[in-house]
Amino acid sequence: MIKLDSKVPEGKLEEKWTNHKFNMKLVNPANKRKYDIIVVGTGLAGASAAASLGELGYNVKAFTFHDSARRAHSIAAQGGINAAKNYQNDGDSVYRLFYDTVKGGDFRSREANVYRLAEVSNNIIDQCVAQGVPFARDYGGLLDNRSFGGALVSRTFYAKGQTGQQLLLGAYTAMNRQVNLGTVKLYTRREMLDVVVVDGIAKGIVVRNMLTGEIEKYSAHAVILATGGYANTYFLSTSAMNCNVTAIWRAHKKGAAFANPCFTQIHPTCLPVHGENQSKLTLMSESLRNDGRIWVSKIKNDMRKPNDIPEEERDYFLERKYPTYGNLSPRDISSRAAKEAYDDGRGAQGQEAVYLDFQEAINRLGKKVIEERYGNLFEIYQTITGDNPYEVPMKIYPAPHYTMGGLWVDYNLMSTIPGLFVAGEANFSDHGANRLGASALMQGLADGYFIIPYTIGNYLAGDKPILVQTDHPEFNKVQKEIEDFISKLLSIKGKKTVDDFHKQLGRIMWNKVGMGRNEKGLKEAIEEIRQLRKEFWKDVNVVGVSNDVNQCLERAGRVADYLELGELMALDALNRNESCGGHFREEYQTPEGEALRNDEEYTFVSAWEFKDVGKWELNKEPLEFESIKLATRSYK
């Protein structure tokens, strides 16, 4: 049993972070260069942490499996980043951003963490502007804002439809500056395969050099994992091809508790699957739902072209079921309704898709207005699908997009392994059971720029960890384990490809641990995943050798981890007998089909402790709400 101490500071909510910063121990500036810190991952959280720690004078080693630190998937975030600047004079405040985020997360996040996030949100904007991030501006030359889902104020800052790209490049350039100054040493094309824990404390990592296949060891006084989420467990998701869970999963197996694995976000407006060889899904901006009407045919297995289906045979199911919100119903409700239509055999032309139709809006507003509003999105749609949305209704379907769960961390963002910190999407900390739009970028940068640089100093000055050399027996042991793991994968020489297994796992996850979950399905999923895992280790074929570039081997290792994580996601979902945010248990819903929380029994974070493959122990961190009163999440 792990002891879960959230280490939330005493005092009033508004003063916690300020007091904590004052109470934290500091490292003597002259001694900082004597401390080595490893940062794994160079996305928003990783790059910003590496840059900030480098600036402070620490010796940073940054690792990425990409060829360049600029490629992380943070780059694909489109919408924007929230901050409580209240530049629009519309009543925003730190408290409101905090409240919206806790409510959006369906009251399953830690109050103190979220408040701190809202507090530092303003510093992020200032920081990024100073770095030369070209945010959108109005004619007076001041920063522009747009509004986003889940909030009644305009607090989202953006740079065209490429906010994630610009923020990542900002962090990347800040880190590059430190590389130039010599405080950060960058290791590209290295995939972290394990963390080295000596006497219960994180002391370094073991990576595979993806060019030579060499297993390399690196030691440090502290390790930060900023390696993103695990939506690729579903095979098809909006994550990049190489996003994976390996770094945090291996850390989990070394003792770091995994929190809320079942909290996954399914985004309603993605492009549907076109065929068996589909490799990933593309998100279309949610703003399309402002003018598009969502429908399917009333008739089952209707293979007619959408324009041949007469008006009276169309079922505008969101408008029918949710007359108040209609096509603008929240993400989870819209996603589930689309799934129900498909399950009912009424998917668009038999596909896993529903129509998003602009005909009515074009007739009402004219093509020109629609073109101004959505022109570039329509272009992207046509590039990918070949259909012209001005003439034929779009086809959309929900897809896994973000994972709120991750490694459990305390207020200092340290996992249950001392010395192992976790930042960004890789931790579980701030979004509860559902993340609001434009909050992922905010959290990644908050962790990296403004939180970890403080808390890691406190750890180093307080715990005074000792550097272990890489020839320590534990390092050698881990290296040996990794080498054995790789040779085992290469020696199976079965009949099925790595992708075959990944796709099969994805199907199980999507059907049974996806948008709607129930006890029966989850139990079946657990069985099926166990079966599949067994089969994987008997029948997978990993082509090639270990001491060369081998993308097949890279994927195989990741899929091996998904096959373990998938089971935990199902187990967590099975264990949480309530519906909240992205986790919808069909048994627990209101008569209107809304999520039904069970605050009495489930106001806690599930932190799973790894015992053996397929065996976990549940630890609970109770969530206490001092400032906010728990309420039913209603957007009516």
Binding site: R70, Q127, Q131, R137, Y172, M241, N277, T385, V543
Partner: protein, 256 residues
């Protein structure tokens, strides 16, 4: 959606490592027109793996045209025949039944081939590290609205900043010049007030490293602009040239 599959002949560049000689290998495929170009390669790879043959090594990540990881030269054109998209956004419906498609890696002395279609583009990062930043530490910065920036200047800076660092400009240029890539970063900061203090120092150090890595010079053929998936303008190159001359005339730096 059409269900008729396209029958194509692919000639794919295969090369074991940087030192070895590469050759084209032929693959016959039947592919759905709705499939993307990279999904077609995924398919071939799965087939190869089933036969216990080495899959084709190629890189890609986001498959949304923003990360800049992918990049193949398709029938002589970086990112293929359709303008303003990355390889990952190219779909097979843009090809015809019976087409023969040559797939080659980006070729430049500064981009050595690692394996098959995978090249080493780290020289671009080295250029960035030399000066592609604004020197501000975390924390000590003024309010975001302290310096107003005209809307059109911010948006011009944004256009330059939208470079995805894929290297298609280098691959397309007959001189393998990285001027479009470097000038995009130089321009982004040269336009903004925040970038002024280091404006001339930046361009000098970045150009210096660019030259050290053996990229060619710019012949103003503008192939880079034509092939850039983000349509970065060659006006940025003009701006960089201007700044470079000014740097040489104004600064007291005798070294760079």
């Amino acid at each position: 959606m059409s269900h008729q599959k396209l029958n194509l002949t692919l000639k794919v560049w295969r090369q074991i490592n940087a030192e070895s000689r590469g050759t084209f290998e032929e693959y016959k495929v039947a592919v759905s027109p709705d499939s993307s170009f990279l999904e077609m390669l995924d398919d071939i790879n799965n087939e190869l793996e089933r036969k216990n043959l080495e899959p084709i090594t190629f890189e890609s990540d986001c498959r949304e045209g923003i990360c800049g990881t992918c990049g193949l030269v398709i029938n002589g054109q970086p990112h293929g025949p359709i303008p303003r998209i990355a390889t990952c956004q190219l779909h097979m419906r843009n090809f015809k039944e019976g087409d023969t498609i040559y797939i080659e890696p980006f070729r430049a002395k500064a981009f050595p081939i690692i394996k098959d279609l995978m090249v080493d583009r780290s020289a671009m990062d080295r250029i960035m590290e030399a000066g592609g930043f604004i020197s501000v530490n975390t924390g000590s910065v003024p309010d975001g609205n302290a310096i107003p920036i005209p809307k059109d200047i911010a948006s011009e800076s944004m256009d330059a900043a939208s470079c995805i660092g894929c290297g298609a400009c280098v691959a397309a240029c007959k001189n393998a010049s990285a001027m479009l890539f470097v000038s995009a970063k130089v321009s982004q900061f040269a336009l903004l007030p925040q970038g002024q203090p280091e404006r001339y120092r930046r361009v000098e150090s970045m150009v210096k490293v660019m030259d050290e890595y053996g990229f060619g010079s710019c012949s103003n053929t503008y192939a880079c602009e034509a092939e850039c998936p983000k349509g970065i303008s060659i006006k940025n190159i003009a701006r960089m040239n201007r700044d470079y001359f000014m740097a040489k005339l104004k600064t007291e730096n005798l070294e760079a």
